[in-house]
Amino acid sequence: MSERSESAARPDRSPVLAMALAWAVPGLGHFYLGRRRTAAAFLVLVTATFLAGLSFQGRLYSIERGQPLTILATFAVYGAGLLNIAARALSESPVGTILAPTYEYGCTYLLTAGLMNLLLILDAHDIALGRKP
């Protein structure tokens, strides 16, 4: 598929569905909108970042009483969609290992993966509405 055909507008596609798919699996919203190569690249990038965060023993944040910043961190991590939910279900230690030397890096990678996917959701929305070429 050429870059020109990838960037063709798809006005027949639902923005809400594109956003929901983009949240569930990184890149799936772009795939739904016909941008298959870009979607594959986003899938690899966001998933690799998230898995690296887990291997660095970072923390999958949850909201804690008296810690208002955990609200933002939780929102960011939940941006990773099903990756985050699967990791919470399968992980033996979703709070990470605070004594691990790579703990802070792991948290940063996990937050970044979620935030990148949130940007992909907004991007899918703009593409579906024809705001982005």
């Binding site: 990038l45 033996e92 890096y105």
Partner: protein, 62 residues
């Protein structure tokens, strides 16, 4: 969980710069040439900026 990625701080920082640069190059640019240019600029900025901050903080180890 088995750690497959090295724990060296510079390698972790460079990997981070790599994924973030690639992500924003794909997100913000449409044609291949512009994507490579932005990727190079972001990658260089993040790695060199990180090294510059590390150098500035060298006198303050704690």
């Amino acid at each position: 969980m088995i750690t497959l990625i090295p724990t060296d701080h510079f390698v972790i920082m460079t990997l981070y710069a790599l994924v973030v640069s690639a992500f924003f190059a794909l997100l913000w640019r449409q044609d291949r040439r512009a994507r490579w240019r932005l990727f190079g600029a972001l990658m260089a900025s993040l790695v060199l900026g990180g090294l510059a901050v590390a150098w500035l903080m060298y006198p303050f180890p704690r």
